[in-house]
């Protein structure tokens, strides 16, 4: 574990593992803050160490979001719980069209969790925050007894600023809108599956975990006729589109042959009997865009590193409201229902 950025890691090295005291608010907690969290997150607000952090925010509307991260394993191909914790909340804010500014980070750590692993998680968070252009300005740490907490759980909440006059939301899809996806689907979920006990397989699939706020900025720079943005995390594209169809009271028709899927992800899904359309993504977005603006938005997305494989996959229709329907590779039609529970590998 690389400690060179730390002001002085010595007190932490005395404790190779987290103990209950690190969450107790006393000397051990202070050491953790001073020697691990502060050096990683480095900003004036945080360094004030107040009970709450006072921030300057522009006047207008604020977007506010929170998410908790309990992924197992904590480190997986292409990412970690740390990356997810920052990018997940940044993305939730970006999906409203907001510019993410500040995050909080709450940790619930299992007694006995290795200090080095915690440091790695925090370092990944710091790197992700820097890349996304957000500051972690307040936080909390609790330690729970061994046997609880799965190593480490993280909650992040975030504040972002809404541009004037922008109204993006899941009730705003309209018949005639185009459905665009920013790139290949299923990468994250299959990366996790590839290291899951009893299901593991050898692959180069990596999680697509990434902050999407700069992509959204670019898209909004081209057109304000973006009606819905959604990052299809748990439940995949299928769940997101079903939710949007339900909330906007529209039907959505997609063409399966247009959906980008990496060939390894496709193979892995075939092996386990999974459908990529239900598999989680952590660095992709769905954009529902007014028909006349679709081509321009798509062209813009394709110039951004996170949108290179963006594609128009379908349209919003007044028919079959609330339902997501797909044209299959052989020209048939199938209904893609809302997932019930977790998608599990099947043999049948």
């Amino acid at each position: 574990m690389e400690f060179t950025n730390w002001s002085c890691p010595l007190p932490l090295l005395d404790y190779p593992n987290i103990v209950i005291g690190h969450g107790g608010g006393g000397k051990l907690s202070a050491e953790l803050i001073e020697h691990l969290f502060l050096p990683a997150f480095r900003n004036d607000v945080l360094e004030n160490l107040g009970d709450s952090s006072v921030l300057n925010v522009p006047a207008g509307r604020l977007a506010f979001s929170t998410d908790s991260f309990v992924v197992k394993p904590l480190f997986f191909p292409g990412g970690s719980i740390g990356d997810l914790a920052v990018n997940g909340t940044v993305n939730d804010l970006a999906m409203s069209g907001a510019r993410p500014l500040f995050l909080s980070a709450g940790f619930i750590i299992e007694e006995g969790f290795s200090m080095s692993s915690l440091a790695q998680v925090v370092q990944r968070m710091a790197q992700a925050a820097e890349k996304a252009g957000v500051l972690v300005v307040t936080g909390d740490t609790k330690v729970v007894e061994k046997g609880h907490g799965d190593g480490c759980y993280i909650n992040t909440a975030g504040i972002g600023v809404m541009p004037d006059g922008l109204h993006i939301g899941p009730t705003r899809a309209q018949p005639g809108d185009a459905v665009i996806v920013s790139g290949s689907i299923g990468d994250h979920g299959m990366a996790i599956m590839s290291v899951r006990e009893s299901l593991e397989f050898e692959t180069t699939i990596e999680s697509d975990c990434a902050a999407l706020n700069t992509l959204v900025d670019a898209m909004l720079g081209v057109s304000r006729d973006i009606h819905v943005l959604r990052d299809p995390t748990r439940g995949g594209v299928a769940s997101s589109l079903n939710e949007i169809a339900g909330q906007s009271r529209v039907g959505i028709m997609i063409d399966e042959t247009k959906i980008p899927v990496k060939s390894d992800v496709h193979s892995a899904c075939e092996l386990l009997g999974l459908d990529p359309i239900y598999v989680a993504n952590e660095g992709k977005l769905i954009a529902i865009v007014a028909g006349h603006a679709a081509d321009a938005v798509l062209a813009c997305m394709r110039t951004h590193p996170l949108g290179v494989e963006a594609a128009i996959i379908g349209t919003v229709t007044a028919k079959h409201p609330g339902m997501l329907v797909a044209k299959t590779g052989i020209g048939g039609t199938r209904v893609i229902p809302m997932q019930i529970g977790e998608q599990l590998p099947r043999i049948c």
Binding site: S198, L199, M323, I330, G332, T333
Partner: protein
């Protein structure tokens, strides 16, 4: 993926469908035996490419659908015992027993593990010597060799903490039961290609002869299913009945002799209750006496189980093609994919679940069609 993508070609599928339309002159009811085939049909929308005269009846070839309720309840009871690590294929986790399912057992503290292969359960037994690892060995003849190897390996390794709860079901007796049922409308079968890859298809000529019913060994990709249907319709239109192999790249008449040898050693034939259908004699496999020590039904004393099938559930009639899901009173009301009463609603391949999802779409489409004056 080689030997998969080529068999999904859209243009060829359209041409095969066109061929089928050209040769079909009358209504025909064809049953695809295997749940995997049903999945492919629904997933790809294959039935929509077919002429209206052809009705595909979704058969009972889905272990999720037909595992007897008593055995599900036994599985749930064993899984709830302290010290047990219950391993299962993913398919079984949401199958409702009389009062709950494996997910509920998990939420109550049970140690439930989803595995890809039965050998994973053996590995878990080796890694967790303090736990009693039980594997839910369900499936048709396709899965039996894998389950057999797992228990064979456990015996070889002398693992005292591994056992299997077996509920295998066999296809040929099921076909006979369907053909002798007074309510069945099946006129031909698409036989399960992967079952036949293990067992061969030497068991089918007597069935064809007895019932004068065409049986075509069929694969799973869209082109395989369409080809199987095409060969079946050719026979039906000509009034012929024989066994044909439309999945020759994988299936042979004799099947896999190596696998069959292991099956004979590890399993013995038994009567088996098929959920919703009833008991079909000699239609299942259980562990043979040589492997009784590894039989979870003997190892665990789970008594006092009260098995109660929902009185509203008519899955059995649906499975035989005698009832369409939307003709059942509970369909869409007490019984939905979220709250399934029986297995045909739990499994995405179950006829009831398929109908629930696709049926609503068709209804909406029809409702929006302009009214002709």
């Amino acid at each position: 993926m080689k030997y998969m993508n080529e068999f999904r070609d859209g243009a060829t599928a359209q041409r095969l469908a066109q061929e089928i339309r050209q040769i079909t002159t009358r209504p025909w009811a064809i049953m695809e035996v295997c749940g995997g085939q049903t999945h492919s049909i629904i997933r790809n929308g294959i039935d929509q490419l077919l002429p209206e005269e052809i009705e595909l009846i979704h058969g009972p070839g889905c272990p999720v659908c037909v595992t007897p309720l008593e055995l599900i309840d036994k599985a749930l009871a064993i899984a709830s015992l302290p010290g047990v690590m219950f391993c299962s294929f993913g398919d079984m986790l949401r199958v409702p027993g009389s009062t709950k399912d494996l997910f509920k057992v998990k939420s109550e503290g049970g140690d439930i593990r989803v595995v890809y292969s039965p050998l994973d359960a053996v590995t878990l037994a080796q890694k967790n010597p303090e736990k009693q690892v039980v594997f839910f060995g369900i499936g048709f003849e396709t899965t039996a060799p894998a389950n057999a190897m797992a228990v064979h390996l456990a015996k070889k390794l002398g693992l005292r903490n591994f056992s299997m709860l077996v509920s295998h079901v066999l296809v040929p007796p099921a076909l006979e039961a369907i053909m002798t049922s007074p309510i069945s409308r099946v006129q031909a079968f698409l036989a399960a290609g992967h079952v036949c890859s293990v067992m061969g298809y030497w068991q089918y000529p007597p069935i064809v002869e007895r019932f004068h019913v065409p049986i075509v060994i069929t694969g799973f990709e869209p082109l395989d299913v369409l080809q199987g249907i095409r060969q079946t319709v050719v026979q039906l239109e000509a009034g012929e009945a024989s066994v044909e192999n439309a999945y020759a790249r994988v299936c042979s008449f004799e099947g896999n002799k190596t696998a069959q040898k292991m099956l004979e050693e590890v399993f013995e034939v038994t009567d088996r209750a098929w959920r919703g259908v009833g008991t079909i004699p000699k239609s299942g496999w259980r562990l043979s006496p040589a492997y009784r020590d590894f039989d979870a039904e003997y190892r665990f004393e789970v008594s006092g189980i009260e098995t109660k099938e929902s009185p509203l559930c008519r899955a059995g009639e649906v499975l035989q093609g005698a009832l369409k899901p939307n003709q059942c009173e509970a369909f869409g009301k007490q019984c939905t994919p979220r709250n399934p009463l029986g297995a045909t609603m739990v499994s995405a391949e179950g006829a009831c679940a398929a109908y629930y999802n696709y049926g609503r779409f068709v209804t909406l489409e029809k409702a929006q069609q302009p009214v002709h004056a």
